[in-house]
């Protein structure tokens, strides 16, 4: 039983990593929006890079989610 409890606590701690990914996404989208408002004509061209940054950042958050899921379900 204690192992299960430790697993649940560990999963909770692992999910903290997703908060970091959330901060990173906020930075990315905020900076994109700031840049897009300064130069709207260039905004569409940078959308691909926005998604790339989003994917890379979110991937790290997904890793921590993965650790949490592994702790909970295996």
């Amino acid at each position: 039983m204690e192992v299960d409890a430790a697993k649940a606590i560990g999963a909770g701690i692992a999910c903290l990593g997703m908060g970091g990914a959330g901060i990173g996404l906020g930075t990315i989208f905020g900076n994109y929006l700031a840049g897009a408002l300064r130069n709207p004509s260039a905004a569409d061209g940078q959308f691909g890079r926005l998604i790339f940054g989003f994917a890379v950042t979110e991937a790290l958050g997904i890793f921590s989610l993965l650790v949490a899921l592994l702790l909970l379900f295996t």
Binding site: D44, F54, E58, A59, I62, L65, L70, T74
Partner: protein
């Protein structure tokens, strides 16, 4: 890129105005110069007519612009709100389906934990694909390649 877009919006807005002028203004002028020119009632009517034409022209240009790009990031307010809800749920659904599928495969084949790992990552990729697809950006990915290069010059 910039001159091209400028030229395109210019030509796209011009036919709308041209149609409005040809279709609405000429009959109005022909009918109204006869009865009374200094009438304030008619002046108000003319004003209203002119505003209506401007609205029609701008509506036409706007509709054409939206149809052109299919770009939802440019629209604001309610549509943007709906778009945001759509994108996030699209992404989360991809990840959730990937994780669920991986867990299910693990249970069937007993390959724990590899199915969960692989399918969660695949689900993440599918989520990003969903987001890009619903943002309407995946079709013109090739067409946008020259733009960043020019901007870096």
């Amino acid at each position: 890129m910039l001159p091209a877009t400028l030229k395109r919006t210019d030509t796209s807005s011009r036919p709308g105005e041209g149609v409005a002028v040809a279709g609405e203004k000429k009959p109005g002028k022909a009918g109204r110069t006869g009865p009374g020119s200094g009438d304030p009632q008619h002046a108000a009517d003319d004003e209203l007519e002119r505003r209506r034409q401007r609205l029609e022209a701008s509506l036409a240009a706007r509709g054409r612009g939206e149809g052109d790009t299919g770009n939802a990031a440019r629209s604001s307010g309610a549509v943007g709100y709906g778009q945001a809800l759509r994108l996030s749920s699209e992404f989360i659904a991809g990840v959730a389906v990937g994780a669920g599928l991986g867990w299910f495969i693990d249970r069937l084949a007993g390959t724990s934990p590899w199915g969960l790992i692989v399918f969660l990552l695949l689900g993440f990729a599918a989520g990003v694909l969903n987001v890009m697809r619903s943002a309407g950006k995946i079709a013109d990915a090739g067409a946008r390649v020259p733009t960043p290069d020019r901007r870096e010059d």
